[in-house]
Amino acid sequence: MIDLFVSAILLAGLYATMAYGLGLIYGVLRIVNLGHGGMIMVGAYAAFWLHERLGLDPYLSILPVAVAAFFFGIGMYKLLVKRLPRGAAGGVQSLLLLFAVWLLLRNAAYLLFTGNDQTIRTSYSTHSFHIGSAYLSWNRLAVFAVALVILAGLHFLLTRTYLGKAIRAVAQNPDSCTLVGIPVEQVYSFTFGLGTALAAVAGVLGATLFSFNPGFGATELLKSFVVVVLGGLGSVAGTAIAALILASVEVFAILLLPSYLTAAVGFVLLVLVLVLRPGGLFGQRVLG
């Protein structure tokens, strides 16, 4: 039982990191980033490639992948997303546009890596240690630790830095921001880049735990939505709690259902929450 709890907590760290990028982009730009799943997949493959080619340990590739993804995200924003009308009018269009990016990313992955499942095996992949009667794999612990650091960093960024405050301001009211001299467009680019980077990093982390293929991403996308819908936008605490709920539901569902079906629990949860939550998807929470 204990190991299930611990599993849930460790998994929650990954889910929180995964979901935060999605929530950030929606909270600030009001855009649903359907390319999110694709970026997670790209992160996984980037870590894989760096490991295969350069022997780089996946945890060390977090930083370079994040930086590359950040600039890729900014590029996507400036090249594509910027051209769409903001707000409700652009809703489905931005959805489809980012979905198209996802298709391209998938295709690239197929061409570069084939459609086979891949994993990253390091010297310590199979190692674990004991706490009481529970076995914990080093990987899961490391992923959790990294996730904690990232989330703490995000919280710090959003609450203590000028940039963070600018981001929160733009999320609340972009028009007033221009009046006050906040460069809204730059905040948009930065946020999109940051959200993309977070997705890629979640991909790297996920790659150390699971096997993956180019079709990877739809499930992760949906799980990210569940977390964002449950946890509200941008609030690190909210995201963390929601991630914990999702991870717990999944982990404990294994007691009742075959493993592949546990994902379905998350999806049903998503649809239920969407339908039962009046007034649309995301609440009006402020970033912080």
């Binding site: 959805l95 198209a100 939505f225 994902a263």
Partner: protein
């Protein structure tokens, strides 16, 4: 002559359409080629499915990324009805369709209250959840191994004309949904659902109607596909890739138009078929780029391009 409703197409267009249909129907007698016979059958089926998707995605403006759910439900129900309950093929299809349409109503009715992108996200969830749950229900789907539906050769040959019939019905329904007063209400809902209510449009009822019709047709297509392919399994039937294909056909062809899904479906089938041998996944990339181009530059997709080329006045709509 038969009297037609005021919004029906002009007689000359109807005549032209009838001629085209007759030509397609007679083609196998003129030049019988096994490969093309099947290709056209399959294409007509996909055209029907794309049209059905567009009723929800284009006319109502609610883009569904989970329509494979109904395709799969229809297919497996039809297969089971034929295999286990020994129903005749057409009844099987109809049964599959009705169940699929009802399923669409069940998840769609509450979900359609969500606007725009949020509905679309929910449909991804519905599609994937349906796939997983139905795979688990091996009594329905045979688990991940799927089901075989032996169809005798003669019947399979005749599927060609069944497909043609389905496609014609779907086209007629598309036209009716688009041009009739009902169609105006649907577009009003698409434009502004609250303002539509303010002028007397009962959005809930109309949305349910479109949901059911779309699901029904999708389900029938699934049943047809089961008979056509002779073997179906959950990943192919319910998969996200299949759902995506309908979105691509509809949007790239020309969302909301009548000809759009037809063009989109034809392009899709042809492209996938030509790439199958060497670069099977390349269709993703090609369609991805096309989708980007459509969204950024030509919202009405191929139909819009066609209109520009023919330089139709902006007032007229396809």
């Amino acid at each position: 002559m038969i009297s037609l409703p005021p919004w029906a197409p002009r007689r000359i267009y109807l005549a032209g359409f009838a001629i085209v249909v007759a030509l397609i129907a007679l083609l196998p007698f003129i030049h019988d080629n096994y490969y093309w016979h099947n290709q056209i059958t399959f294409t007509l089926l996909i055209v029907t499915a794309a049209l059905a998707w567009n009723w929800l995605g284009g006319l109502l403006g609610q883009v569904s990324f989970g329509h494979a759910a109904m395709f799969g439900v229809g297919g497996f129900v039809a297969a089971r009805l034929q295999m286990s309950a020994h129903f005749p093929m057409l009844i099987g299809w109809l049964g599959g369709g009705v169940i699929a349409g009802s399923y669409a109503l069940i998840w769609g009715h509450p979900t359609l209250r969500l606007r725009g992108p949020y509905f679309s996200i929910a449909t991804i969830g519905v599609g994937e959840a349906t796939r997983l749950i139905c795979t688990y229900w091996s009594w329905l789907t045979g688990g991940s191994s799927g089901l075989s539906i032996p169809v005798d050769i003669d019947l399979k040959h005749q599927l060609y004309w069944y497909a043609l019939g389905l496609a014609v019905l779907a086209l007629m329904a598309s036209y009716a949904l688009r041009k009739s007063p009902l169609g105006l209400s649907l577009l009003a809902i698409k434009s502004d659902v609250d303002a539509a209510a303010d002028v007397g449009v009962s959005s809930s009822r109309l949305q349910d109607l479109v949901l059911f019709l779309s699901g029904l047709t999708m389900g029938i297509c699934g049943g047809f596909y089961a008979s056509y392919a002779g073997f179906i399994e959950p990943v192919d039937m319910f998969g996200f890739d299949r759902s995506i294909s309908f979105v691509l056909m509809g949007v790239i062809g020309g969302i909301g138009t009548i000809a759009g899904p037809v063009l989109g479906a034809m392009v899709f089938v042809v492209l996938k078929e030509s790439l199958l041998a060497y670069y099977p996944q390349l269709y993703l990339g090609l369609f991805g780029i096309s989708l980007i181009l459509v969204i950024l530059f030509e919202p009405l997709g191929l139909v819009g391009l066609g209109m520009r080329v023919l330089r139709k006045p902006i007032g007229e709509r396809p």
